[in-house]
């Protein structure tokens, strides 16, 4: 499809989507929070011990290596598995407020623990690790120490977490089922974490599962096993699996046309431009004034990060976890096709994205951009010029911010 036809097609749907998002922004979440509080009071009233089904864990990062570590469990009724972050949320079309509802419905029963968990399989941390490696939510009994503190916390990388309560103890109320590949990585304490992560990925585990397992310190060489703060572990898994996939296309032949793919999710617009050539990747983010990460700004805030054929050596100073999450989505697509390409991801964060829900939203937004149709152009330059007309920034501003828009790296053998 020609790029201009492609753009026209989805512009028609955009107006409807905008109305829907505007309604959603109605701050019904504050009413909902009051309700959550009542639910919690009922569930934990007067009793220090309560039964729960825990689908996930959380590891904090402040005061590392003595971190706050917890099991997350829904207090409201419903299938506990629905409360765990995964690509399913995208498939179900969850919006910002629905994600916040799910996550605020999770009680985080926490305890402080040292991250060194080499042989710890008993006590609170042991139970938490069992929850992490199991393939379904686990019934646990948590002994609370005091009332939950209803406090919604948001993060740009991790999914939001809900109320917290400090826990004295946790015991398993069932024998959790651990999938065979996870047992294998768990038992092999000579296996470096990077290799174990890609092994699980190749065995069909999505990055969400791997992230939880890594976070519980259940991967890696014995002496290196640590609880990994959730935020760090998300980025580590996206990066490691991404490097593995990048290796897979290193010698692949290149795509033949310049392609433009598009997706919009939760007030985030993703333009993915693929163009022939050897692997190069860049994420450029444009954050609207009044969107969550640019609340006081008057102009669009631009951030970018880039890598060449051999990847990055330095730390990603801008765009953080979104860089690795979007790169993963693109690399999965290229691996499916067995091709390499130069790739520019443009992410526009509109003010409809009113609360951060975590980088899973970026990952799924980019992954699913490849589901529908795409537009094609003769050259990369033409694609960027046409796409820029849809963006809130000028081509000049984009060129200053973007390495790929400034110029595509040629090879010596091209001359």
């Amino acid at each position: 499809m020609r790029l201009d036809d492609f753009i026209e097609d989805f512009q028609r749907d955009e107006a409807a989507e905008k109305r829907r998002l505007a309604e959603e922004k109605s701050y019904e979440i504050t009413n909902y929070l009051d309700e959550v509080e009542r639910e919690f009071e009922r569930a934990v009233s007067g009793e220090s011990l309560f039964g729960a089904t825990a689908p996930e864990i959380f590891v904090g990062r402040s005061s590392y290596p003595n971190v706050s570590t917890g099991v997350l469990s829904p207090v409201t009724d419903g299938d506990a598995a629905d409360f765990a972050t995964s690509g399913e949320w995208y498939q179900q079309g969850l919006g910002v407020s629905e994600v916040l509802q799910r996550r605020t419905g999770l009680l985080n029963s926490t305890r402080s623990a040292n991250v060194d968990v080499r042989d710890v399989w008993d006590g609170f941390v042991g139970v938490q690790r069992e929850v992490a490696i199991a393939d379904h939510p686990v019934d646990v009994e948590v002994g609370l120490d005091g009332e939950p503190d209803i406090d919604l916390s948001l993060d740009d990388v991790g999914a939001p977490t809900g109320p917290r309560a400090s826990a004295e103890s946790a015991t398993l109320a069932e024998n959790p089922h651990v999938p065979r590949p996870v047992k294998k990585t768990l038992e092999d304490d000579d296996w470096r974490a990077e290799g174990a992560m890609t092994y699980l990925y190749r065995r069909g585990f999505d990055v969400y599962d791997i992230n939880t397992i890594l976070s519980a310190g259940a991967l890696g060489r014995g002496r290196d096993r640590r609880l990994v703060p959730t935020r760090w572990s998300i980025t580590a898994v996206d990066d490691t699996v991404g490097q593995f996939l990048r290796g897979g296309i290193r010698n692949a032949s290149t795509i033949s046309e310049t392609e433009v793919w598009y997706n919009e999710y939760m007030g985030n617009r993703y333009w993915v431009v693929l163009t022939p050539g050897q692997w190069e990747f860049e994420l450029v983010e444009m954050k609207a004034p009044d969107s969550v990460w640019n609340p006081a700004g008057e102009a669009y805030y631009l951030a970018s990060a880039h890598e060449g054929y051999e990847g990055r050596t330095g730390y990603v100073e801008e765009t953080a976890g979104a860089y690795y999450a979007s790169r993963l989505g693109v690399l999965e697509h290229l691996n499916d096709r067995g091709r390499q390409a130069k790739c520019l991801v443009l992410r526009e964060v509109t003010d409809d994205y009113w609360a951060p829900v975590g980088v899973w939203q970026v990952r799924e937004g980019v992954r699913n951009a490849f589901d529908g149709q795409h537009g094609e152009t003769e050259t990369f330059r033409q694609a960027v010029t046409e796409v820029t007309e849809q963006l809130p920034v000028s081509l000049g501003a984009l060129r200053r911010k973007s390495e790929l828009v400034a110029g595509l790296q040629a090879k010596l053998s091209d001359f």
Binding site: L302, Y309, E310, F380, R400, E403, L408, Q409, A410, L412
Partner: protein
């Protein structure tokens, strides 16, 4: 057979100018000196180096090819003071390089040359502009540009007879102009190309500040940077592919 004695600073300069691009390389042992040609894995930057036998205190070989891990060899060479002599001797049977520095002996395991990335063909470039300038001017341009951007434009203005450097960042710009008087020599011609600073920074590290550097440029073409090391006994040419704006 290979048996040579060379001053530490000559060996270090030779190794440094290759190691900025690759971790391993093949060294051709020719009767009239050493030759190294290597390209980085992305096929973006290339080095072509020769070090004449006359750069050595003594040099004997009947030809051969060895593969080395550059950072290992650099570490060893770094054990010597600049004016000390380094003795290199190849053990044909064990395929190891014996290195002696003032009583310190080191045996370096060599790499099978077949396992090292193939040496590139030299692109045949006909570049219209040539600039000859001091290494320190390149250093100044690269350092300043790096403060604002990740890429740099090198060009020649052939109406005003000057060489210019441009770097555009998010908000800040760097511009440098060197006229024919500021340069050692200038052959003006239509030339402007954009380059990744990542590569140019690395190449710049190996260019001595007092070296006379010959820069060949074209329109969206690779740049050639040529300079001498070891008091004129060594020749180094870098080639760097541009970032292309017109595609």
């Amino acid at each position: 057979m290979f048996n040579a004695i060379v001053s530490a600073d000559t060996l270090q300069a030779t190794l440094d100018s290759v190691s900025v691009l690759v971790e391993e390389c093949k060294i051709h042992l020719e009767e009239d000196g050493l030759e190294i040609r290597a390209v980085d894995p992305a096929n973006v930057g290339m080095v072509d180096l020769s070090l004449s036998a006359s750069a050595f205190e003594s040099y004997e070989t009947d030809g051969g090819l060895i593969g080395v891990n550059l950072s290992r060899l650099e570490d060893i060479a770094g054990m010597a003071d600049a004016d000390q002599l380094i003795h290199l001797e190849l053990d044909e049977e064990t395929r190891k390089l014996h290195i002696a520095i003032d009583g310190l002996e080191y045996t370096l395991a060599l790499i099978n040359p077949d396992s090292i990335r193939q040496e590139p063909d030299l692109p045949d470039l006909d570049l219209p502009a040539q600039i000859v300038l001091e290494g320190r001017d390149i250093d100044r341009a690269v350092k300043a540009s790096d403060m604002v951007s990740d890429h740099i434009e090198l060009g020649v203005d052939d109406t005003d007879d000057l060489f210019y450097v441009d770097a555009e960042g998010d908000t800040d710009d760097v511009h440098l102009e060197l006229t024919a008087e500021d340069l050692i020599d200038l052959t003006a011609g239509p030339a402007s190309s954009l380059f990744s600073l990542d590569y140019l920074k690395d190449m710049n590290k190996a260019i001595p500040s007092d070296a006379e550097v010959t820069v060949d440029l074209g329109e969206e073409f690779p740049v050639k940077l040529h300079f001498e090391i070891a008091e004129g006994q060594g020749q180094v040419t870098y080639m760097l592919a541009p970032r292309v704006q017109s595609d």
